[in-house]
C-alpha cells in the first residue's frame, strides 16, 4: 500500500509542478440585473466546459482567468436566466441578467462531477438546502420524503435516531441491503453494510440507528438522488439501490463574509397511541371473561389499585437547536464554517438525543492551474436510548402490556418492580447511552496541466467511533449489571480522476477517467459484567463477574477503475457512456472483479429548428438509458466455509460451524432501462418530468433455506431474479405569479410494481407449489415467485359470527371454520410494499410571508400488527388489552369486534391471522411552515442585520385515511428495520412518529 501512496503523490507532484503549461489571461467585469440595473453579488461565472470559475463580489464584480484562446463564459444565479457570452479577445465583459424561473442551466450533481441541467441525461432528483434547513428533523433523509418521484422514505420508528427506510425505485434485493449508498463530498460513507449487529445494536427492536444520523442537516447544500443506470453505473458494485450524493455548503470566492444564526425550539407529542384498558375496565373485563368461561367472578376478585402506565411513560417532547455559520471568501480562498448544537427530548421517557456538529469547508485557488481544498465534518452524538419494541425494556411496550392495576410505587412510596418491570424508574435509575463520534472529510488537489484537462486527487476519510454503555442498578437487576461496547470503523479512500473536454465543429466531448482504492477496518470491543458492591460503581471493571470480554475485527477493500464519455452534437443530441470495474475483497478469488456499465442518449427536441419557438411547449427533452450496477452487501466473508471462534464450554475455548462454503458467490447485478421525458409548458410555468423504468436484478444473493439436517438453516447463493417496474412523475406549476403573490405547486408520484421472477430450484414450496423465501424475522412474510418480495401469507380472519358469537376464519378453500389449521390454511393476503408513494408541496409567497404545506401519501401495501397478538389475547389475563376487546359479543345479532367471551374458540382469536393485517395507506400533512421575512427598512435600523425571518412549523400535522392510525399505530413503522429487507411493514408496539410544533428565527448579518 505504501507504494500506492507514494505513487499518488508523485503523480500529483508531476502535475502541480507544471502549472505553467496552461496559457492563461484575465477577464473581469460587472454583472447587473437587467430589470433595475442593481449589481448582482454571488453570480457564478464559469468558463464553459471547465470547472474554472468564480463568483461576483458584493458589487457584482468578478475577475477570472480564462484560456488565452477565448471560449465561452457562463453566468448563472438562482432565479435568473443563465447567460453564455463569447470571450473572444475581450478583457472586460459586463453582463446583464434576466429573471427566470426555469433555472435550466443550474448544474446537477452526478458521480465524480456535475453537468448542466439542460444537457443532463441522467435521472437524478435534487433537494436543496431550503427544504432541509431549520426543520426539526434529526435524520437528513427525512428531507427527501415525498420530494422526489420514485424515492420512498419511511420512518422505521418514532424512537429518536432510528433509521429511515429509503428505497430508490423499489426493492432489488431479498436478503442483501436495500438502502442506497450515501456519498458526502465524494466520500462513500460507512454504513456497516457488511452486516453484523451494526454500530449500535437494535436494542430489542428492528429499528437500527441511522447511518447518517451524525450529519447536520443545516450543513447540507443539496442532496441528489441518483436513480437510473446512467447515474449509478459509476458507483458500480454499490449502485444497485441508488445513490444519494450529499454536497455540503461551500463558500464562494470573492463573496463578502455572511454570517447566519438560527434558533428553533419545538414541542412534540406522539401522532397516536393505542387505547388500553384502565384498571377498572380491565377488572370488569377479566371478571366478565371469567364468568363467561364458567368461573363466576366480580371485579373485586382482582387486585385493586390502578395506574395509567401510558401516561406515566410519556410527556411533551422538547427540541432546541442553535446553529451558527459563516461563509465567504477572498479572491483566492473560500470557506464555510458551521456549527450546530441540538437537543431533542422525545415524547417518551428515557429517550434524548444531543448532537454537536461542526463543519469546515475550504477551497483555495493557488494559481490559475492549481486549486485545493478540504471539507471536514465532525460530530458528537449522545443518545440516551431505551430498549424498544419486542423487549420488556421498552417503556411503551410495557405501558401497553402491564396489567393496569400494577402500580409504580408501593404503599411506602418506594418503586415496585412487578410484572413487566417499572419503566418509569428503570429509565430513571438505569443507564443506556449511545455516543457516536464521527469525522468525515476529504482533502483534494486539482491541477489543470493543459487546457481542458483537469486532474484531481481526492483523499477521504470516514472515521466513526461509537460507544454503548449500559448499567442496570441492583434494584432491577440483582447485583447490578454493566455493559460497554466500543466500535470503530475507519475508512479511507483515494480517488484520482482526469477530466478532459474537447470539441470540434458542433461536437463536444467530455471524458472522465479515474481509479480509486477504498478500505475500511472495523474493530469492536465489548465487555459485560454483573455483581457490583454498589450502584455507585458505574464501570464494568468493578463487576465481580465479568461475563463478556470480546474484541473482533473485520476489514474490506474495494479497488475500482472507471471512465465516462459524454458527447453532444449541437447541444441537442446527447450521448453518454460509462464503465466501472470493481474488485472487492468480499467475494471469492474467482469472482473478485465485476464490470458495470451504462449507455444513455438524449434529444433536446425543443432546440430543433422545426420546434415552434413560442408554442405551448417551451422545453422538451427525451432521454433513455440502459446499464448495470451491483450490490455487494453480503457480509465480508460470505463465500467461505467457516468455523467461528469465541465459543466456550466451561472455560475451554471452542469453535462452531457457522457458515457453509460457496466459493462461486458474486455480486447481485441490476440492469436498468429508463425512458424519460422532460417537458415545460406555457413559458416554463408548468414543468413535467416523467420516467418509466424497469430494473431487473439477477444473481440475487439469497440465503437459500436448507434442511436443518445439514446443521445449517440456510446458505447464501447467487440465484433468483427480481423485477421492479415503475413510473416516476413530477409536475410543478406556478399557479399565480403577479403582484407579489406567488403560488407554486409541486407534486410527485411514484408507481412501483415489484415481482420476484424466479427463485432457485429446491426453494421452499407452499401447498400450491409456489416457490418462496421466508423473510427472516417473521414467517408469514415471504418473497414469492410471481409475486412481490414482501408478500403476506396468513390465515384469513372472517369475523365474529353474529348468531353464535364464535370467531370465524376461512380455510384454504374459503370455507368458514372455527379451527383454522395455521400452516395449511394460509393464503396470500397482499403485499407489504406500497404501490404508490408521493408528495404534494404548496408554496405561497406574499410580501414577506411564505407558507409551505407539504403533504405526502402512500397507497397500497399492508402492515401487520404483531403486537395485537398480545393486545387481543382475550384468553390470557397476563397482560393488558386494547379497548377493542370491550366490544364483545353478548347476544345473537350483535356485530362485534371480539367474540363471545365464553366461546370455546376464544383462545384462537388472537392467533396470527389477517385480523392483525391492515391497509397501510395514508395521507399525511407532513409539514406546514409559515414564515415572515422582516422588511429591509426595519432591518436597516438594526445596522447589522441583513435579513431576518421568523417562522412556525408543524411536522406530521395531520394524518388522514389511515386504518393504522385508527388502530393506534403510526403508519411509518418497520419492525424489520432497514439493514435487510426482511419483515417490512410490521409493528410490535413500535414507537409512533412525533407531531412537532416548532418556532424559530434565522438571522443573517
Amino acid at each position: 500500500m505504501k507504494n500506492f501512496l507514494l505513487l499518488s503523490f508523485l503523480l500529483l507532484f508531476l502535475f502541480s509542478s507544471n502549472q505553467t503549461w496552461a496559457q492563461q489571461r484575465t477577464v473581469s467585469g460587472k454583472v447587473t440585473s437587467s430589470s433595475d440595473g442593481v449589481a448582482l453579488p454571488g453570480v457564478n461565472v464559469v468558463v464553459k466546459g471547465t470547472t474554472t470559475g468564480t463568483v461576483t463580489d458584493i458589487d457584482g464584480n468578478y475577475t477570472l482567468s480564462v484560456p488565452s484562446d477565448g471560449g465561452v463564459l457562463t453566468f448563472s444565479f438562482i432565479g435568473l436566466a443563465s447567460r453564455e457570452v463569447q470571450i473572444g479577445s475581450r478583457s472586460s465583459i459586463n453582463v446583464e441578467m434576466d429573471e427566470d424561473a426555469k433555472q435550466l442551466n443550474e448544474v446537477v450533481v452526478q458521480a465524480y462531477g456535475q453537468q448542466s441541467e439542460k444537457l443532463n441525461i441522467q435521472q437524478v432528483e435534487t433537494v436543496g438546502s431550503n427544504a432541509i434547513e431549520n426543520r426539526p428533523i434529526l435524520s437528513p433523509q427525512e428531507a427527501l420524503q415525498g420530494q422526489a418521484g420514485g424515492v420512498q422514505v419511511m420512518g422505521s420508528s418514532g424512537t429518536l435516531g432510528t433509521a429511515q427506510n429509503v428505497r430508490i425505485r423499489g426493492v432489488t434485493s431479498i436478503t442483501s441491503g436495500t438502502q442506497p449508498l450515501y456519498v458526502i463530498d465524494g466520500v462513500p460513507l460507512n454504513d456497516n453494510s457488511a452486516g453484523g449487529t451494526g454500530y449500535s445494536g437494535t436494542a430489542g427492536g428492528g429499528s437500527a440507528l441511522n447511518p447518517i444520523f451524525d450529519l447536520n442537516p443545516n450543513d447540507i447544500e443539496s442532496m441528489t438522488v441518483l436513480k437510473d443506470a446512467s447515474a449509478t453505473a459509476l458507483y458500480g458494485s454499490r449502485g444497485a439501490n441508488g445513490v444519494i450524493i450529499i454536497t455540503t455548503k461551500k463558500g464562494a470566492r470573492g463573496e463578502k463574509t455572511k454570517f447566519s444564526a438560527n434558533y428553533f425550539t419545538g414541542w412534540s407529542e406522539a401522532t397516536v397511541f393505542k387505547d388500553v384498558l384502565s384498571a377498572d375496565q380491565f377488572r370488569q373485563f377479566r371478571a366478565d371473561y371469567s364468568t363467561a368461561t364458567g368461573t363466576p367472578a366480580t371485579p373485586e376478585d382482582f387486585n385493586q389499585g390502578g395506574f395509567d402506565w401510558l401516561d406515566g411513560v410519556t410527556k411533551t417532547g422538547r427540541t432546541n437547536s442553535y446553529s451558527m455559520s459563516a461563509r465567504g471568501g477572498t479572491e483566492k480562498t473560500a470557506f464555510y464554517v458551521g456549527g450546530t448544537y441540538m437537543n431533542a427530548d422525545s415524547y417518551q421517557i428515557g429517550n434524548e438525543v444531543e448532537k454537536l456538529n461542526g463543519r469546515f469547508n475550504l477551497s483555495h485557488q493557488a494559481s490559475d492551474a492549481v486549486s485545493l481544498g478540504f471539507n471536514l465534518g465532525i460530530s458528537r452524538l449522545d443518545n440516551d436510548r431505551f430498549f424498544q419494541e419486542n423487549s420488556t425494556g421498552s417503556p411503551l411496550t410495557v405501558a401497553y402490556l402491564q396489567l393496569p392495576y400494577v402500580e409504580p410505587l408501593d404503599e411506602d412510596g418506594n418503586p415496585t418492580n412487578a410484572g413487566y418491570g417499572n419503566p418509569i424508574y428503570e429509565q430513571e435509575m438505569n443507564k443506556f447511552q449511545f455516543i457516536s463520534r464521527r469525522n468525515t472529510g476529504n482533502i483534494y488537489l486539482q491541477v489543470k496541466p493543459i487546457e481542458n484537462l483537469i486532474l484531481k486527487t481526492d483523499w477521504g476519510i470516514d472515521m466513526i467511533q461509537t460507544e454503548t454503555t449500559s448499567r442496570d442498578v441492583d434494584f432491577f437487576s440483582p447485583g447490578g449489571y454493566a455493559y460497554k461496547a466500543v466500535v470503530q470503523d475507519n475508512k479511507w479512500l483515494n480517488t484520482n480522476t482526469a477530466n478532459y473536454n474537447f470539441g470540434f465543429g458542433e461536437s463536444n466531448f467530455s471524458v472522465l477517467a479515474g481509479f480509486s482504492f477504498e478500505t475500511s477496518k472495523r474493530n469492536d470491543i465489548t465487555v459485560e459484567g454483573s455483581g457490583f458492591v454498589s450502584d455507585e460503581l458505574p464501570n464494568v471493571g468493578s463487576a465481580g463477574t465479568p461475563t463478556t470480554t470480546s474484541a473482533t475485527g473485520a476489514e474490506w477493500a474495494l479497488f475500482s477503475t472507471f471512465g465516462r464519455l459524454n458527447y453532444d452534437l449541437k447541444n441537442k443530441y446527447l450521448f453518454e457512456a460509462s464503465i466501472r470495474r470493481d474488485g472487492s475483497s468480499r467475494f471469492g478469488s474467482g469472482n473478485r472483479f465485476g464490470v458495470f456499465w451504462a449507455v444513455s442518449g438524449g434529444w433536446l427536441i425543443s432546440d430543433e429548428d422545426f420546434f415552434p419557438e413560442s408554442g405551448l411547449i417551451s422545453f422538451l427533452k427525451l432521454t433513455s438509458s440502459y446499464g448495470t450496477s451491483g450490490n455487494d452487501r453480503i457480509g465480508n466473508y460470505a463465500s467461505l466455509g467457516l468455523y467461528t471462534g469465541g465459543r466456550d464450554y466451561n472455560g475451554n475455548p471452542g469453535i462452531e460451524a457457522s457458515q457453509a462454503a460457496n466459493s462461486d458467490l458474486t455480486w447481485e447485478q441490476t440492469a436498468q432501462l429508463d425512458i424519460s421525458l422532460d417537458a415545460r409548458f406555457f413559458s416554463d410555468r408548468l414543468r413535467v418530468n416523467a420516467s418509466w423504468y424497469q430494473k431487473n436484478t439477477t444473481d440475487l444473493l439469497l440465503s437459500v433455506p436448507v434442511p436443518r439436517t445439514t446443521g445449517f438453516t440456510s446458505r447464501i447463493q447467487n440465484i433468483g431474479e427480481v423485477v421492479n417496474r415503475g413510473i416516476d412523475l413530477t409536475i410543478a406549476g406556478d399557479v399565480i405569479d403577479n403582484n407579489g403573490l406567488k403560488w407554486t405547486i409541486t407534486g410527485n408520484l411514484g408507481y412501483l410494481h415489484n415481482e420476484v421472477l424466479s427463485l432457485p430450484e429446491g426453494s421452499s414450496e407452499d401447498l400450491d407449489g409456489n416457490k418462496f423465501v421466508t423473510q427472516a424475522s417473521f414467517s408469514s412474510q415471504r418473497a414469492v415467485e410471481g409475486r412481490s418480495i414482501n408478500e403476506w401469507f396468513l390465515v384469513r380472519y372472517k369475523g365474529v359470527n353474529p348468531e353464535t358469537g364464535d370467531p370465524e376464519w376461512l380455510d384454504k378453500n374459503g370455507e368458514v371454520t372455527n379451527t383454522p389449521n395455521n400452516p395449511d390454511d394460509r393464503v396470500f393476503a397482499g403485499s407489504a410494499l406500497p404501490k404508490f408513494t408521493g408528495g404534494l408541496t404548496n408554496q405561497l409567497y406574499y410580501k414577506g410571508f411564505d407558507l409551505r404545506v407539504f403533504v405526502n401519501f402512500v397507497s397500497g401495501g399492508k402492515t401487520y400488527l404483531a403486537d395485537n397478538e398480545f393486545s387481543n389475547n382475550i384468553a390470557s389475563g397476563g397482560f393488558n388489552h386494547t379497548r377493542d376487546v370491550l366490544n364483545y359479543w353478548t347476544k345473537p345479532g350483535d356485530k362485534t369486534f371480539a367474540p363471545y367471551l365464553g366461546s370455546e374458540y376464544i383462545a384462537n382469536f388472537d392467533n396470527e391471522s389477517t385480523l392483525h393485517l391492515f391497509d397501510a395507506s395514508y395521507i399525511r400533512v407532513k409539514n406546514i411552515t409559515l414564515g415572515y421575512k422582516i422588511p429591509q427598512n426595519i432591518l436597516e435600523k438594526s445596522r447589522f442585520l441583513s435579513d431576518a425571518r421568523v417562522y412556525a412549523m408543524v411536522q406530521n400535522a395531520f394524518t388522514f385515511a389511515s386504518d393504522l392510525m385508527d388502530e393506534g399505530t403510526d403508519p411509518e413503522v418497520s419492525n424489520g428495520g432497514t439493514s435487510s429487507n426482511s419483515a417490512q411493514a410490521e409493528s410490535f408496539y413500535t414507537s409512533p412518529q412525533s407531531r412537532t410544533f416548532t418556532v424559530g428565527v434565522s438571522l443573517g448579518f
Binding site: T545, N636, G641, Y649, T774
Partner: protein
C-alpha cells in the same frame, strides 16, 4: 512531457497490481473448514464448540425440558410467550418457533459431532495421541446419542406405542459436505439403535471420568440404562445401572447441596458459566434459560414456571420431605405470588448447571426395572429406601406393597419428587401409559382441559415435525 505521461501509465499499472493483493482479506474471528480439522487443538475446539451447542436454549438450555415439564402436572406455566403458551394449551402448530428451533439447534450439535467422528481419524498431528483421539471421538458419540435421545423423546411416540416401529426423526450420521440430502424420518427403533451403538462406542473409548460436565464411559452406561428402561428392556436396564453403580467415581450424595456444584452424584450435566448467557451464540438472551424460567421475577428470572398445585400436593402428602425444602416463594412474570424451585437459583448470571443424568435416577431406573421384572422385589425396595431416606422419609417394606404394580407406582412417585424440574416427568408418564394431565392436575394457568387424558399414542403427546423443515424437505 511525453516521458511524464509514460510515468503516469506505469504508475497506474503499479497501483493496480498492488491493490489486487490488498483485496485478499480473510476473516479474523473464524477458521476455514479445513483449518478446523487441521490439528488436534483445532479439533478439540470443535468438540468444545459442540458442548457449547448443547448449552443452547433449545437443546439442553432448558426450553425443551421446561416445555416437557409444564405439559404435565408438575409445573404451572404462567409465561407470556405465545409460542410457549401453545404447549400449555395443547395447541402447538408445526410453525411454532420452539418446535422449529429445538429441531434446528439439536441437529446443529449432531452435525458437529458427525464432523468430529468423520474427520478426527484423518488428522495428521503428532500431538494427537490415541488417548486424545479416543476422547474426541468418544465424547462426540456421546453427544450425538444424547441429542438423538432428546429428539426421539419429543418428536416420536414412545417405544410402547408401536414397539418402536413408529416414525421418529431423520437419521443423519455424516457431516455436511455441500450436497443436500432430503432425508426421510427413521423409525424410533433405528434412532434407538444408533443411540445404543454410539453409547457403546463412547463407553469403550472414554475413561470413567474426564471432568464434571464432560462425557464419560459411566455417563454412556447411565444413558444406556435409561434407553433400555424406556424400551422396556429391563434386564439390560439393570445391567447398565449396575455398571454405573459399580464405579467408584460416582455415588449418591449425602444431602441436597450437590445442585450446581461438583459432586459424585452428578453423572452428566451441562456446566454453565456466567459468560454463556447472552453470548456464545446460545440464543439465551432475554428469551430464557433454566434460571430464567424457574427463578422468580424479583430474583432476576422471568418466573414463568412455578410449582403446580398438584406437585405441591404430592410433596405435602408425605410430610417432612427434604426435597420440598428446595423451594422459595417469589413472583411470577406478571407479579403474582408463586413457589419456585431452588434447583436453579441464579437469575442474574444464569450459571445453574442442569444435571441431565444423576445417580439417583440410575438407582430408580434399576429399582423400576427390578419391580417390572420381579414384582415386589426386595432390592428394588431397598434402592427406593435409599432415595427416600436421604429425603428424610420413612423406609418402606415389602409388606407395604400388595403388588408389583403398586411398587412401580411408588417408584414413579418417588421419581416425580426426586427428579422434579429435571426434565423427566413427561417421558415417565408417557412410557407408563399414564395421562400427561388429569382433570384434577390441570395447572391453574390453564382454562378448560387441554392435555387431560392425553396418553402415549395421542398425536398431542408429541411435537409435530417443524413446518419450516417440511417446507424444504418434501420427504418429511
Amino acid at each position: 512531457m511525453k516521458y511524464k505521461f509514460i510515468y503516469i501509465v506505469l504508475a497506474l499499472l503499479a497501483i493496480q497490481a498492488c491493490s489486487e493483493k490488498d483485496l485478499e482479506l480473510f476473516p479474523e474471528q473464524s477458521l476455514s473448514d479445513e483449518s478446523a480439522f487441521a490439528d488436534a487443538n483445532a479439533a478439540q475446539g470443535v468438540l468444545f464448540g459442540t458442548y457449547n451447542l448443547l448449552q443452547d436454549l433449545h437443546v439442553f438450555g432448558s426450553q425443551p425440558q421446561i416445555v416437557s415439564d409444564y405439559c404435565t402436572d408438575n409445573v404451572n406455566f404462567v409465561g407470556s410467550f405465545p409460542s410457549l403458551q401453545e404447549f400449555n394449551l395443547y395447541t402447538v402448530a408445526a410453525s411454532n418457533s420452539t418446535v422449529t428451533e429445538v429441531w434446528q439447534d439439536t441437529y446443529e450439535a449432531i452435525l458437529s459431532s458427525n464432523a468430529i467422528i468423520a474427520n478426527v481419524p484423518n488428522i495428521e498431528d503428532p500431538t494427537l495421541t490415541e488417548e486424545r483421539a479416543n476422547s474426541l471421538i468418544g465424547e462426540a458419540h456421546f453427544i450425538r446419542a444424547i441429542c438423538y435421545f432428546l429428539l426421539a423423546d419429543i418428536y416420536a411416540q414412545p417405544y410402547q406405542v408401536e414397539s418402536g416401529n413408529n416414525l421418529a426423526v431423520p437419521l443423519v450420521t455424516e457431516p455436511f459436505t455441500g450436497e443436500i440430502i432430503l432425508y426421510e424420518r427413521a423409525t424410533l427403533n433405528q434412532i434407538h439403535a444408533l443411540i445404543e451403538s454410539d453409547l457403546l462406542e463412547a463407553q469403550a473409548l472414554l475413561p470413567e471420568v474426564i471432568a464434571q460436565g464432560r462425557a464419560s464411559s459411566i455417563a454412556a452406561a447411565a444413558l444406556l440404562s435409561r434407553l433400555k428402561l424406556y424400551r422396556n428392556e429391563y434386564a439390560k436396564a439393570i445391567e447398565y445401572a449396575d455398571v454405573v453403580m459399580a464405579s467408584s467415581k460416582y455415588s449418591m450424595a449425602t444431602d441436597f447441596t450437590f445442585y450446581n456444584r461438583l459432586s459424585p452424584e452428578i453423572i452428566f450435566s451441562i456446566e454453565n458459566t456466567a459468560i454463556d448467557f447472552e453470548n456464545q451464540g446460545d440464543e439465551e438472551s432475554g428469551s430464557g434459560s433454566w434460571d430464567d424460567y424457574y427463578v422468580g421475577s424479583t430474583d432476576g428470572g422471568r418466573g414463568d414456571c412455578p410449582f403446580s398445585k398438584d406437585l405441591m400436593n404430592a410433596f405435602e402428602a408425605e410430610a417432612g420431605d427434604r426435597r420440598y425444602d428446595l423451594k422459595e416463594p417469589g413472583k411470577t412474570f406478571s407479579g403474582e405470588d408463586a413457589i419456585f424451585t431452588t434447583k436453579y437459583n441464579d437469575g442474574v448470571n444464569n450459571t445453574s448447571d442442569p444435571a441431565l443424568i444423576r445417580y439417583t435416577e440410575i438407582m430408580l431406573n434399576k429399582a423400576e426395572a427390578l419391580a417390572e421384572l420381579n414384582g415386589v422385589d426386595a432390592e428394588a425396595i431397598s434402592l427406593l429406601n435409599m432415595v427416600r431416606s436421604r429425603a428424610g422419609l420413612e423406609s418402606r417394606t415389602v409388606a407395604d406393597f400388595g403388588s408389583g404394580s403398586a411398587l412401580v407406582s411408588a417408584i414413579l412417585l418417588e421419581r416425580r419428587k426426586e427428579l422434579a424440574f429435571e426434565g423427566h416427568r413427561r417421558m415417565d408418564l408417557l412410557r407408563k401409559g399414564l395421562p400427561l394431565r388429569t382433570s384434577s392436575s390441570v395447572p391453574a394457568s390453564v382454562k378448560g382441559s387441554p392435555g387431560v387424558n392425553v396418553t402415549a399414542g395421542d398425536p398431542l403427546a408429541i411435537w409435530p415435525v417443524p413446518q419450516a423443515e417440511r417446507d424444504v424437505n418434501p420427504n418429511l
